[in-house]
Symmetry: C3
Subunit: 153 residues, 3 copies
């Protein structure tokens, strides 16, 4: 019995390839966001390409390269102190668009919530995160990230 | 090395088929819900079959066909104005059951949250969404949807 | 056209295997958590191995075997009455690590939320859930589960 499946997102992909990419990207974000929430700037940087660019709604212009990433992680730790508790990310609503050049264009929602000591978690904001992911060796890395917030539009 | 996998949900499927379907359905819902949240009735209708039926907890009887879908989208825009901010959906807890006739029976949870201007997101309700999905050409479409809410039971 | 994919999580897996496992685990948790939220101790027990061990932040020591599971489910029903409404789980941020012995080490976030009658859902806590899953016949089951809560650390 042969089952011929055509992916809805990218019609020229062989059967099963879209599923492989989709699972890899879900796992990648679960991993990358845990590193961010742990404020581990060094491991966080390894999940980006060396020339990666970040566009963040709270910064006036795009941030380049690994210095910017370290600053981004430190800023997160500062925000956490101000918020009065642990900040965490929850990623979902993922859309993956494989590109002809082998990169992936992804779009997802990222909920940021705070858990003040001993209290219930409280949602702070939901961002839309749009990435360009590239394969470096055996791993996906973020080459470009654009984060937008509807409430700041 | 050969790995023989049998899917837990449907034992007669070839290895990898369940994963392909599961990824396609996740991507489909991320796409369909973004269109709903943007109140784009025309593109929203394209994600349903022409004779699709909706059963909604807020309507006394099932809604048929594309006129009903447009009304559903307009009602969503009205609810959004009353809620005082942007309404969004977040889908998760997905279960996919492939059927012998090639359709998919899916069940998932859908969180509806509102983001009033400048404030934090607030969860309004969680619905259970049960769909019958059919393949039309290269794409999945919703042929039947039943939405239930525990708090109205 | 041949596409050669290497999974980021486990480099020795054949192409597509990681996706198959990742989809199976997502579906497993959607299924297992619905059973928990329905307080169905009998079906809940079937999702664990006979000698499964649970480590829970609210219990002084690990709980063994099916008696403990039934107690866990009953305690959940009690907590629900105290919380004043239906308790539900929402699982996400899943990381799956296939092991050489065929088991899976998984890590995910589990949001517990309550829906008081007629009101909006409210997040109570987010736990980190770390499982060892083993295949029994055609199905995955939990052989070991460790649940931790940051707010109790």
């Amino acid at each position: 019995m042969t089952v011929e499946l055509v992916d809805t997102a990218e019609r020229t992909l062989p059967t099963g390839t879209f599923a492989a990419l989709y699972a890899q990207v879900q796992d990648f974000y679960a991993h990358q966001m845990r590193i961010l929430d742990a404020h581990d700037a060094e491991r966080w940087a390894l999940t980006f390409t060396e020339d990666a660019v970040l566009e963040l709604p709270t910064l006036p212009e795009p941030v380049r390269a690994l210095d910017g990433l370290a600053r981004y992680v430190r800023a997160g730790a500062d925000r956490q102190r101000r918020a009065g508790g642990r900040l965490d990310h929850w990623v979902g609503m993922l859309d993956v668009r494989p590109q002809p050049d082998g990169t992936l264009h992804t779009r997802c929602s990222a909920l940021v919530y705070v858990t003040p000591g001993g209290e219930s978690p409280k949602g702070l904001r939901v961002c839309v995160m749009e990435d360009v992911l590239v394969r470096t060796g055996d791993e996906w890395r973020t080459a470009h990230r654009r984060v937008t917030r509807d409430d700041l539009a």
